[in-house]
Amino acid sequence: MGFDSYHPAVLLAFFTGAIVLCVIVQQPLFQAAGFASAALCLICLRGREGWKTVAAMLAVLAVLACLNPLFNTGGETVLFRYFGGRPYTLQALAYGASTGCMFATVMLWFACYNRMVTSDKLTYLFGGIAPAVTLTLTMVLRLVPSYQRKVQQIVQARSCIGKSSARGGLRQRAEGGALTLSALTTWALEGAVTTADSMRSRGYGAARRTSFAKHRFGARDAVAAAVLAVCAAVAIACLLGGGAAAQYIPVIAIPPLSPLGWAGFAAFLCFMLLPSAIQVKGDLTWRFLRSRI
């Protein structure tokens, strides 16, 4: 059982916390830990595909780092000059690397988020707070594939009467596309009215909506939430207390970690590694139990 089997609220809290912390922190050790944890989490989830994404993000990091000195000329150590004297500085390069790392880490966390927090979990979570919006969202998620299929049907029917979307000039094909959408709209609107009447006659809005609840906030969710809360509190206290201070421009000044800094780093690492740890523990348990059979 991986982290994705935890309660959606825990998942959402984790991703919000992880992304906010990884954006705010500027200390290179923290940033590297954040990037490595996000990469590890994605690799645990996706294996080979995960490695590819991580490699792509490393490339993005490098590009963003190299681009920054072109826009920011602050910094004392000039590496070289171009365009008749515009400086390209080491400090701006380092700060660019820091921002690139932030961006890459956030993208990796979102890649994990997209795998773990599926739309049904989100609609479960917000069904109570915003029932109308959530219902709309659920309906859209169901209607989109059905409309896409209907478009295929309309396109096929049109090609049977010699109006294939592959033939004719650009203008003709564009008008064909518009006619297809127009036909889809007519069909969709009539269907909408039928659906709405059907909902009304079944008592929509008469009582509080219940949801298909398959998530229960159990003991392990409470434990995970408590661990996340404590780690986040320590990490934030460390960040606000200057335990993870780092300056890049005009001079790179990264003081060695104080005891507060180390405590914050431990909490930060613990927070970021939680999903991977749960995943690895689940995999090991599974392997161990299987080997005993």
Partner: protein, 237 residues
């Protein structure tokens, strides 16, 4: 409905206070916290519109109509798969706004952005996209609220609206999206960096704007006519 007006005002006041508080917190924390603050401020602009929709306790017909319009906007791309980079979504959002008004227009836009991100993957751009696409529905909904658009458009109006739609994408919706890259990818927001980010976004926005103009030219009248008919037939909104 007067009792909703008070609620509305309170919600907006809370949203403004939350946005101001997050800006103040960001100023105290310093560093790169402005990236988070920007996303929070954008969310503060979006959430009140959803709260208003919830507070109104919408009828089944409104919910279904909203869902259908969003789904049409998201699925419309399939009818033009043979034309690469042609995105009709914003054009359809604008048509929805013109048919139903500013407030439903915003909801159609921002929900369509959210749903298309469910399909293509959420990212740090999601709130910005919800704002930008919502703005398209909102601004073109104002045309309906102001009585400029009623049902089908005459040839002159159609041309004007279509060109305005394209320009709005190039000048407003596209740059809002580029701003999210500015905040997330650029270390130091200098004039040169802004020029580079908005400049790099310009060709993309230009194509998106052209697609929107073409969509509006081709689809505005048929869709507005159909929506007006459904509204009249079933008495919606």
């Amino acid at each position: 409905m007067p009792q909703l007006k008070g609620w509305d005002r309170a919600v907006w006041a809370i949203a403004f206070a939350a946005a101001a508080a997050s800006v103040a917190t960001g100023a105290v924390v310093g560093g790169r916290s402005y990236v988070v603050v920007s996303a929070v401020v954008v969310l503060c602009a979006i959430v009140p519109c959803f709260v208003r929709f919830e507070r109104r306790r919408p009828q089944a017909r409104e919910v279904v109509m909203l869902a259908v319009l969003c789904a049409l906007a998201v699925a419309a791309r399939v009818a033009f798969v043979w034309l690469p980079h042609f995105k009709p979504m914003l054009g359809i959002i604008m048509i929805a706004g013109m048919a139903f008004g500013a407030s439903p227009g915003f909801l159609v836009g921002s929900l369509s952005a959210l749903v298309s991100n469910f399909i293509f993957g959420q990212g740090p751009w999601t709130p910005w996209q919800m704002l930008a696409y919502g703005a398209c529905g909102l601004v073109f909904g104002l045309l309906a609220n102001g009585g400029y658009v009623r049902g089908r458009l005459g040839a002159g109006k159609l041309l004007a609206v279509s060109i305005a739609g394209g320009l709005f994408v190039v000048a407003v919706a596209g740059p809002i999206l580029d701003t999210s890259s500015l905040f997330f990818m650029v270390s130091s927001i200098t004039p040169e960096a802004m020029l580079a980010v908005y400049g790099a976004g310009f060709p993309v926005n230009l194509m998106h704007g052209a697609a929107t103009t073409v969509t509006l030219l081709l689809l505005a009248n048929p869709l507005l006519g159909k929506l007006a008919r459904v509204k009249r037939k079933y008495g919606m909104f």
